[in-house]
Amino acid sequence: MGQTIAEKILANKSGERAVRPGQIVNAKVDVAMSHENAALVKKHFEELGLPRVWDPERIVLLFDHRVPAESVKTAQGQREVRQFARAQGIRHFYDMNAGICHQVLPERGHVRPGELIVGTDSHTTTAGAFGAFATGIGATEMAAVWATGELWLRVPETFKITVTGRFQKWVGAKDLILHIIGRLGADGADYKSVEFYGPTVEKMSLASKMVLANLAMEMGAKAAIVPPDGKTLEYVKSRTDKPFKPVYADPDAEYEKEFEFDVSGLEPQVAKPHQVDNVVPISEVSGLKVDQALLGSCTNGRLEDLEVAARILKGRRVHPDVRLLVIPASWEVYLEAMRKGILETLISAGAVVVNPGCGPCLGAHQGLLAPSERCISSTNRNFQGRMGSPEAEVYLASPAVVAASALAGELADPRGLRL
């Protein structure tokens, strides 16, 4: 019987010839990533009383959630992690000048097709855009990984999503995945692995494939995998010297459910407060006043996202009642956007550019919301209180909708702009 990508990777990593959904396997981890919460992982690891981590080469540590440190408590935690990385000989440590973990991992050559990646962050699924099985775990579990290099996993059932059709102008991956989440529900893929297929996905840039894998977490996915094509393999090879073997599904692989989506008539999509599956087309909410517009995050802070916003905002000014925040996903994106003049365009339009990191997405710092304020955001969560006050509202949408709304002062359809 054929196997899906998730089944094959988990079989390889647990030394089995084949595995079936529901089976519990003990899998060997290829890459283990933690950000600021490495301070908590370290605390648990030290309780185990082991002198060394299992393999310092396979551990990646970085700071992105609160950079530069927004409090003494954070500064203290970051200091402890720096010292730990040094003491343990963890070479792949990136301080506050690298960017958001899910962007930095592939950029710095830590994502390879066919590998098992775990991270103490739910959006670790993002690395599935490169054909890896990548999933989020808690800090305690990560301490066990640091100690043993292994993790028990239940082999998930797999969903197959096939996408066809051509996007309209200003519509793209973010609209597609919001639409899918709206259809399947916030727990529609809980515990499942999701594989993405179809000509529309094949034509997407890697950055857009990362949007799918990132946001699939918001329908509960344990892993979200795009089979790697030539472009993906080329990118990975340009970033890592380590050998790897891409994994593809068998033609007779068994999927628990199969879904088909045609994007031809798809409008820009918006997730209303306070759940990511509360999705409607922009036409249902356009005209609502916004106080803040946020462009950035591990979902949509890449070069193509900033480029879209720059195309919309070039030569214009953000609405006087809107605060536009721009947060490049990584230092690499930041520099590239600077070289290309994108940052100049955005700053000239009135944007405040913040250093790469998670910023206000999780309510840590750099742009929180007051009660009764409304934010249009290219991030991935609109939970009550996530970006500041529990009485504030976060609407999620694509970079194009964020930029169009920043310009209009209200939720706006970029297709209606006269550019």
């Binding site: 519990i24 600021e36 919460n37 301070a39 908590l40 605390k43 648990h44 309780e47 185990l48 009383g49 082991l50 959630h65 609160r66 409090s71 408590k73 954070t74 935690g77 103490t120 962050d121 739910s122 670790t124 989020g136 775990i137 808690g138 800090a139 305690t140 579990e141 301490a143 066990a144 100690a147 043993t148 916030a186 727990d187 809980d190 515990y191 509960g220 344990k222 759940q275 999780l362 309510g363 840590a364 969560r381 939970f383 009550q384 209180g385 996530r386 529990p390």
Partner: protein
């Protein structure tokens, strides 16, 4: 495992980890401090009024969102006897077990229990009794190795025990 007895605190569907434990408190490392902020934004009286042994009863998909285990740590530090829901988000489920917070999947539970009712929970058998109404519910039993982790008090004490026995065998 011992039986748990306490009052029910009811929550709805898709309670996310930002609501359980706001992101601004993530840098805290002391579980007792974390406990003070559980559900702070949406139910500020909860952390003050909950008593050890009380049981949180929720609908579908409890603990969705961020992987932050503080959302389980804070409830354990409050002394909550168990969290019972119709279903859980997968990372939360694993975190609760790994931190030794008793957790149970029980379809139909949220309709059969009212806020404040006295419950008795037997985790090993999965039986949940509503002492106020006399009604009983059957939760999905926990797999034996999960019970072992819970009985050890979480993954770290469990692993410590195993590392010790590996060493003494060597």
């Amino acid at each position: 495992m011992d039986r748990i007895r306490g009052r029910a605190w009811k929550f709805g569907d898709a309670v996310n980890t930002d609501v359980i434990y706001p992101g601004k408190y993530l840098p805290l490392t002391d579980p007792k401090e974390m406990a003070l902020h559980a559900f702070e934004g949406v139910r500020p009286e909860f952390a003050k009024a909950v008593k050890p042994g009380d049981v949180l009863v929720a609908g579908r998909y409890f603990g969705c969102g961020s992987s932050r285990e503080q959302a389980a740590t804070c409830l354990k530090a409050l002394g909550l006897g168990a969290v019972i829901a119709e279903s859980f988000a997968r990372i939360y489920y694993r975190n609760a077990i790994n931190l030794g917070l008793p957790i149970s999947v029980c379809p139909g539970i949220s309709k059969g229990i009212e806020e404040g009712q006295e419950l008795e929970v037997d985790l090993a058998s999965g039986t949940i009794k509503n002492l106020a109404s006399g009604e009983s519910f059957q939760a999905q039993p926990l797999p034996p190795f999960v019970l072992e982790i819970l009985e050890a008090g979480g993954l770290i004490p469990y692993l410590k025990g195993r590392l010790r026995s590996t060493r003494s065998r060597a």
